[in-house]
C-alpha cells in the first residue's frame, strides 16, 4: 500500500507526523515552563498585584535619585538644569553641585581599581602555579591532578561576597579582606581556564626539553609557558574587567572600595549622591572594559 503511494503523499504524511511531534514537544516545554513560573511566583510572593503596587514606587525612587532639594522648604527640582549646568559648587542644579564630593569618590574609585589590580595579580600568579599540576596531560600523578582540581573548584564556587564577609572577621574591616576574597575566586576560575589551555597545548616542545634531560620544571618553563602566555594574559585581562566590577560591590560587607560609600549614602537616603556614585561606577566599568578589550585584541593579534 505504502509503496503505491505517490511520493508527495508520503511526504505529506511524514511531514504531518513530524510536525505533530514537534507541536507536542513545544507544548510540553511551554506547559513545564509555565508551571515552573507559577510555582516560583507563589513561592516568592511574586504577584501581579504587588508588582503593579511597586511600579509607582520604583518610579518615585528613581525620580528622587535624580532630583535635589535646594533648601529645606523649597520643592525638589531636577538634579541638572541647562542654565545652571556649569555653575559653581554652591549653585544647585549644576554638575559641580551634584558631584560636590567628587574628590572623595575619585579616591575611593582609585582604591577600588587598585584592589582589582592587586587581586588579579595575586590570583593570576596562584592560578598560574596551580594550572600545571591540574592539567591531566602534563602531570602523571593522578592524585595530584585530582587534589589541585578540587582545590580550584572549591575556590571558585564560594560566592566572593560571602567569602569577603567571612574574611572581614579575622582580617578586620578594610580592603585587605576584599582583595583576598577576590584573589581566591580569581585563582579558582583562572586556574580552571589555564589548566584547560594547558591540556590543549602542543606536547612536542615538552618532549624536546625532556629528550635533552630537562626536569619537569624545565619542561613546563620552556615547553609550555612560551606557547601559552598570550592566552594566559588575555584571560587575565578579561578577569581584571570582572574583578573591577566585583570590587565595586565588595565594600558592602566592609571590605573596602567605593561599595562602602555607596552603602552609606543608600542607607542615609542621600539620593543625589546615590545616583552620582552609580554613574561614576558605570563610567569606570565601561571605560575599563573598552580599554582592556583593545589590549586583548592586540594580544590576540600578536598571537596569530
Amino acid at each position: 500500500m505504502t509503496s503505491a503511494d505517490p511520493a508527495w503523499q508520503l511526504f505529506e504524511r511524514r511531514f504531518g507526523a513530524l510536525r505533530r511531534a514537534r507541536r507536542t514537544e513545544s507544548t510540553l516545554i511551554f506547559v513545564i515552563l509555565v508551571l515552573l513560573f507559577v510555582v516560583s511566583a507563589v513561592w516568592t510572593d511574586f504577584s501581579p498585584g504587588k508588582i503593579l503596587e511597586g511600579v509607582p514606587r520604583i518610579g518615585e525612587y528613581f525620580g528622587k535619585l535624580f532630583s535635589i532639594q535646594p533648601s529645606e522648604s523649597a520643592p525638589p527640582v531636577a538634579v541638572l538644569a541647562w542654565p545652571h549646568l556649569f555653575g559653581g559648587v554652591k549653585e544647585p542644579q549644576s554638575i559641580a553641585y551634584w558631584f560636590y564630593r567628587f574628590n572623595v569618590y575619585a579616591a575611593l574609585l582609585w582604591q577600588t581599581i587598585q584592589m582589582a589590580i592587586l587581586a588579579t595579580v595575586l590570583g593570576y600568579s596562584a592560578a598560574f602555579v596551580l594550572a600545571f599540576p591540574a592539567a591531566r596531560t602534563l602531570t602523571a600523578n593522578r592524585y595530584v591532578v585530582f587534589i589541585s582540581r578540587r582545590l580550584l573548584e572549591f575556590m571558585r564556587t564560594i560566592p566572593q561576597v560571602v567569602l569577603a564577609f567571612i574574611l572581614v572577621w579575622p582580617f578586620g574591616i578594610g580592603p585587605l579582606a576584599g582583595v583576598l576574597a577576590i584573589a581566591i575566586h580569581t585563582t579558582g576560575s583562572l586556574g580552571k581556564l589555564f589548566s584547560e589551555l594547558n591540556e590543549n597545548a602542543d606536547l612536542r616542545p615538552v618532549e624536546g626539553v625532556r629528550s635533552v634531560g630537562g626536569s619537569w620544571l624545565a619542561q613546563m618553563r620552556y615547553g609550555i609557558v612560551p606557547q601559552m602566555l598570550p592566552g594566559f594574559l588575555s584571560y587575565g585581562l578579561l578577569r581584571f574587567e570582572i574583578n573591577v566590577r566585583s570590587s565595586t560591590i565588595i565594600g558592602f560587607v566592609g571590605a573596602g572600595g567605593i561599595g562602602q560609600e555607596l552603602k552609606r549614602v543608600i542607607g542615609f537616603n542621600i539620593y543625589e549622591e546615590v545616583s552620582a556614585i552609580c554613574i561614576l561606577i558605570l563610567l569606570i566599568v565601561v571605560a575599563i572594559d573598552l580599554l582592556s578589550e583593545r589590549v586583548r585584541h592586540r594580544l590576540i593579534g600578536a598571537m596569530a
Binding site: K50, G54, I166, L176, V179, T248, F252
Partner: protein, 273 residues
Amino acid sequence: MSASVAHLPRRPTPTRRAMQWAFGLGALAYFVYLLWLFDFDRIFTGLPKLWVIVRLMIDWSQFAEWDHKELLRSMVETVAMAFLGTFLATLFALPLGFLGARNIVPNRVFRFLTRRIFDGCRGLDQFIWALVFVRAVGLGPIAGILAIMVAETGVLAKLFAEAIENIDTRQVDGIRSTGASRIAELRYGVLPQILPVLISQALYSIESNSREATILGLVGAGGIGLRLSERIQINAWDQVAYVIVLILITVASIDSVSRWLRLRLIGGPAARN
C-alpha cells in the same frame, strides 16, 4: 601560537634590555606598594583568627538543633528568584535584542540609544540593583527578582542582538521571496536561527544567577543570603559552613541539570561553557 622557530631569537639590544629591566622593577615596586597600601602585614595577625573560625566551622555537633526548615525554604526561594528573574529577563531581552540589531533596525541613532541602555543595565552589578530595588519596593524576594531581571536583560539583549546580527540572511530572503509579512520573516527566518543561542544563554544565565542570587539576601533582597548574613553576624560559624555547603550542592545540581537540558535541547557541545 606554535610558530616554528627557524633560528634562535635575536639577543635584545642593551637599551631594550634596560627598558625591560626598568619596566619589571617598576611593576615590582608598584606591587610591593600595593601590598603595603592594603595592610598585608595584617595577614599574619589574621591567620590564627582564621584558623579559629575554620575549627568552629567544621564542628557540626549541634546539627540536629539547626533550623533546617527555614534554611531549605530560603534555598528554594533563592532558586525560584533566579528562575523568575532570568525568565522575565529573557522575555524582555528578546524583543529588545531585535531592536538593537543592525540588520533589523537600520536607524543608527535609535540603535546607539538601545545599545547604551543595555550597557547601563549590565554595567551596574546585580548587587547594586538589588540595593536600589530594596529601597524602592521594600525587603523581600521581589527586589531580588527585579534586580536579576534588570541586570540580566542588559546582558541577554546584547547577546541576542549580536546573535541576530550574525544570522544567515539567505533564510530570511527565502521567507521574504514568498511574500511573507515582516513578522513572519522574523518568526520563520530569524528566530529559528537564534533559538539555540537563546536556549543555551538562558540556561547559562539561570546557572550563574542562582550563584548570584545567593548573595542578594545580604542586602535584604530575599533568599539564602539573609540567613547567611544573620549567622555570620552572630558568629554561628558551624551554621555558616552548613549554609555554604547547601549553596554548593544546589549550584552543582543546577549546573548538571542545565548541562543535561542543554545537550538534550540543542545537541552537541554547548555554545558557551
